[in-house]
Amino acid sequence: MTDFEAIPDHGLGWMEASGEHSDIVLSTRVRIARNLQGHAFGPRARVNDREAVLRDFRDSAQRSEVLRDGVLVEMPEVAERMRRILHERRLVTRDLLGEEGAEPFNGTAVHFSATEPVSVMVNEEDHLRVQSLVSGLRIQEAWRIVDRLDDELGRELPFAYHNDFGFLTSCPTNVGTGMRASVFMHLPGLVLTKEIGRALRGLSEMGLTFRGLYGEGSEVVGQFFQVSNQITLGRTEEDLLDDLERSVRTVIAKELEARHVMLREARLITEDKIWRAYGLLRHARSLSFDELMAYLSSVRLGVSLKLLPGLRVYSLNKIMVFTQPAHLEQAAGRDLTPEESDAHRASYVRRVLATEGDVSAIEGSAADDPPSDRP
């Protein structure tokens, strides 16, 4: 495979900034883990286990309405940079790519539906990971697609299922429903007003868990958080999803309230922070990814608060995806050193901001609107 033409939306449908609250909620992901009887789970699977799992899955996919006309991408056949691009587009996990520097295992694959925003990873930690990744807050919609595909595959494949423990998974933290739903949120208001700790504690009391972007710390990566259900056993899928949705909506309401407080109590400081970040991104000649994310977070807040009305959330999502290392290398057509990568990143950001966001019309708005946080 040399390009992404065969993959619907090039695997980028989740960043289109559609769906409810798409300025705050980047995307919703629902995934289920399923395993086949008679084979060791991913980490202990042998070559013939993996090959048999892929063969059986491929047969069942041909009889699945959702998958039939889709595209199956076998990881060992994909060039190294393309594999990293799939990962950067959040379509495959790091796990599926195999050890750093080594080739992926035979039998590892991902199958994309041609008609629905759903895909299946094959021979990851679990034999099958069915996932739907969509833009904005659309938990129920993502679940319906996954649920339907699960029914289709379950009619063909002998899933490992236990009357007490439910769907059996490699890791006992996934057993039962095998379902993890996560909502990827941008919460600068809660971070800047120091309310984030309380909000996250509230989530944890609801049996939800959170992590930063790419598993790193929270504030350092642009105030982005992924909120998901921790528990997978002892509750129905619908109850788990309802709890998640209710909590996410509460967090959104608190985030909006925090933003309101910021504008009321510290309008000049807030506007200054946003415009400085915009200016920096608009003119910088070198940007590390972490630095970009920090400024992009402020600019995203500005767009959401309608302080930068010429810019669209879609453009910002695009910047997040296309400034990752493998994407920059793909655009350059060659490998890049870290220094070159930072320069290419800055150049890409300048180009997008110059062509997709004319914010000049409203410059000086802070001066027109006397600051309330100064004597």
Partner: protein, 167 residues
């Protein structure tokens, strides 16, 4: 962002920043790549890893818990308790039978439950009992869809129930 040093070995490059909430107490840890890997934390996608390994360790170290972590192995894949304690991963579906005595305690600590109440799986060649269990599950989902006034969903489930019931 200024460079932060690893809190475990003191090297200057903490690259993994872990925020955890345990018993309502939030803590943040900064670790270098190798110390993080040692903790089983490699900035990967699995949220449950660290708490799970902690839970496994707690159980193994808890003299009040009458389990036999440390002996025995899975009859199908050969996984031992030691393997499980190291990785937090079971080896195959049969492991859930092989370690059936110990698992409920672990599951209770992780999920606060030991029994699946979600979707009921209908295998490719279902027995009458499989069909009955699936129908029970579908009826529960139907009730729920009606209660939450999701009538579109309710209609779909009703269709599926009808297709399974003998004519």
């Amino acid at each position: 962002m200024s460079n932060m040093s690893c809190e475990k070995c003191g090297s200057t490059d903490a690259v993994v920043h872990l925020t955890q909430i345990v018993n309502n107490h939030m803590s943040t840890h900064h670790l270098c790549q190798s110390c993080a890997a040692e903790k089983g934390l490699d900035a990967g996608p699995n949220v449950g890893d660290i708490p799970l390994l902690d839970v496994i360790k707690q159980i193994a170290d808890d003299p009040a818990v009458d389990t036999h972590w440390g002996g025995g192995e899975c009859s199908f894949c050969g996984l031992t308790h030691a393997d499980f304690r190291k990785t937090g991963r079971l080896g195959c579906p049969q492991c859930y039978e092989s370690f059936a005595a110990e698992l409920p305690d672990l599951l209770r600590r992780v999920h606060r439950a030991t029994k699946h109440v979600g979707k009921v799986y209908l295998p490719p060649d279902p027995t009458a009992s499989d069909m009955e269990k699936r129908l029970d599950g579908l009826r529960r989902r139907l009730d729920r869809a009606i209660r939450s006034e999701d009538f579109e969903r309710a209609a779909e489930i009703r269709d599926e129930i009808r297709s399974m019931e003998p004519a």
